[in-house]
Each structure stands twice: as structure tokens, then as C-alpha cells.
Symmetry: C2
Subunit: 206 residues, 2 copies
Amino acid sequence: MALLDEEGVGRLTMRRLAERLGTGSTTLYWHVKTKDDVLDLALDAIFAEVGIPQRGAPDWRAGITALISEWRAVLLKHPWSAALLGRPMLGPNVLARSEFLYATLLEAGIADPHLTAAAYGLSNYVIGSALMQTTWPTGEEQAARQATQDHLHANRERYPTLATHGPLVVDGDWDTSFTIGLTWLLDGIQANAATTRGRGRQTERE
Amino acid sequence: MALLDEEGVGRLTMRRLAERLGTGSTTLYWHVKTKDDVLDLALDAIFAEVGIPQRGAPDWRAGITALISEWRAVLLKHPWSAALLGRPMLGPNVLARSEFLYATLLEAGIADPHLTAAAYGLSNYVIGSALMQTTWPTGEEQAARQATQDHLHANRERYPTLATHGPLVVDGDWDTSFTIGLTWLLDGIQANAATTRGRGRQTERE
DNA sequence: ACCTGAACACCGTTCAAGT
DNA sequence: ACCTGAACACCGTTCAAGT
């Protein structure tokens, strides 16, 4: 994990990892079957840092929001992790998080087509957000950032809206954008919880 | 692209690519600076397949939905692509798609904090969905799928909700889940378009 | 039960040299 | 302007051998 945090996934090597651990590289293969196993273990390990809120709180939205926010914070803290999410997540820490998510939504009155959609939707949204944010040229890579801005401005006839309203131009902060989108999702989920219980109808929008 | 589609990103090698092209591996370095460049080019190339709807249609929701659906279809058609989205997307085809997205939202009356949130939210959602769907054990890997189901069932005291309502158990189809979540996002965006124009207020939720 | 060293088949990339 | 071959420094992984 230290190696990953400091140097990124591209520089994680069985040989370098072994060196860090003070052994020969081939020794690792006694404890681990393959390099992919190392990555799977590292990925599940960061989920241990995701604090799981107390179950059964009266305000389910607060609970879900807390979980999703913690999850996002952890993904951003370990920038290599988001890119690794393209592998099945079945470690115990991941499952504990999923259990909370499903249980809370279920108690909130979300029934089954919407339940799956809600769990997927929230997960997809966090993963996509973290992936995009950790990918994008950060403030440090001012050069790359400036280059794309220039490129957009140079081709502003072809991309008029992007050149004036696009990201990297307005650079609103990630947090508020994330919160707004999360609110939209939660509103939708909440509306369908109401549907299940008999109030309102919002699902069909042809 | 053919090599990627057939064998996946893990088997894309400069040497194998060269062989496929009928040259020596080192020849490639005349046309391309590094292997990452190859991946960047491949990634932008698939965006050329994303059909961009006609601009300025009366129903902006239909336009956005069409774009997002096409985008998703292309990502799923090239399963290696979603995992590659963890790199800046600045090719011309990507930019054309972004331009449509921003322009259509802007014309729909979405103003700037919400505009960025909407563009990010939609993009994050498609990317996350495609990544998760292409990652998850497909029907072909029945073994892996069954193994995780068994594991969940064996530990059903610890994961009661997952064991009975989790994914891989109910296996609702991806398409409907995706559509439901997309509807939630669009509803939220639409509500904020109305806000901008003076009707309703939904942004603040304590 | 755990560690080591040598070895294998493969990488991405450079560079002088060819046409 | 484009292609080639040899070469470098590095991979993941195996396996017989040690303790």
C-alpha cells in the first residue's frame, strides 16, 4: 500500500515490492499466487478504511450520504485505487460496505427493480467520479492543463460551448459537483421509495 | 483495435501489434511515440463510433438520452475501453461528444454550477456503469459467478441482505438498471433547469 | 513451513544503420 | 521519409534446492 500510494500502480513490481519488504522477489510467490492477487488484496484493504455508518438510523439519506462520501474520500486518498476498480470486488471489506448499502435502501422502502438500480447507480457514480477526478490533470500538472485550455481556445469555432463553459475553464470544484449529482440520485431514489409505499408516482417518464 | 477487441488490453503488446501489422516491433516507434499513445489513439477511435444526435432538437432529454445510450453501447462493445478511461480524454472525437453534451444542457437552461455537475454526473455514471458491467463475471464465467453466490450464501449471517437481494442473486438486467438511474439523473437536472428559469426550487435540501 | 538463486520467456524502448 | 536488427534494462513466474 505504501508503495502504491507513493509511486502509483505503474511502478508496483514484484521485484520492487520484495525489495521494500526486504526479501527476494521470488519469495513473494509463497504468500501470494500472482501479482493480480496483490492488487486484489490492496484494493480490498482500502475498503477497510471506509467507515460504515450505524445501521438503522432514522434518516436513511444521511446514512447513505455518509457512506458514499467516505467511500469517495478513500478512493481519492489512494489515487491508484479508482483505476483498479475494473476487477471484481469480492473481499470482505467490500462486501460489508455493500451489505450496508443494500440493507439501508431496503429499509427505506426501495423494492427490487429500483433497489438494484439504486445500488448500482450510487456505486457507478462514486466510481466514475473518483476515476475521472484522479485521472484529470491536477493543479500540479499546470502544463498539461494549460495546453488543453489553449487547444480548446484555438479550436473554439469547433467547440464553442466547451471553450466557454467546459471543464478546465470554469473549474468549479469537484466536491460541489459531486454533491449536486448525488442529490439528484438520492431524490430519484427517494421518489421511488415513496412510490413503493403508495405516495406519488414518478417512475414512468416514457 | 481488432487486437484489443479480440484479446483484450492485457495482451496488447508492441511486438504482437507489429506482428499483426506485418512489421518489426521497433518500426512502430516511428509512427508513435510510446505505447500509451497507442492506447490513447484507440480510446479516441472508439468515440468515433458514438453517433452524435442532431443539435437543437426540441426535446433535450431525448437528445441527451440518445447520446448517453450510444456512448454506453460503444463502451460495452469494446470491453477493454472502460478500463482505459482512466486517462485524459482529449481526442477530437471525445471533444465533439462533450461539445454536444454541454451545448444541449446549456440550451435546456442549465446554468453553471449545475451545468458542470450535470455533465460530470452523466459522464461519471456511464463510465462507472460500463466499467462495472464489463468487469463483472459474465454469464460465460459461470464458475466464478457460482462461486461468489455460494460464498455469499455460506456467509449469509454476515451478509443477510446481500445474500437475498444482492446482485448476482436477483440478476436483474443491466439495461433496465441503467435506464432507471439515468432517469433519476435527468429528473434532477430537469428540476434545476426549471429552477434557473424561475419555477420551483429543489436545490437546497438542508 | 518458509526462503533463495538461477533461469525462462517475455516486455517497452533506444539507436545506429540501412534504403 | 520510413524500416530494420541488435541491444538494454526490466518484467512475471517457475522450480529445484536449501533451512
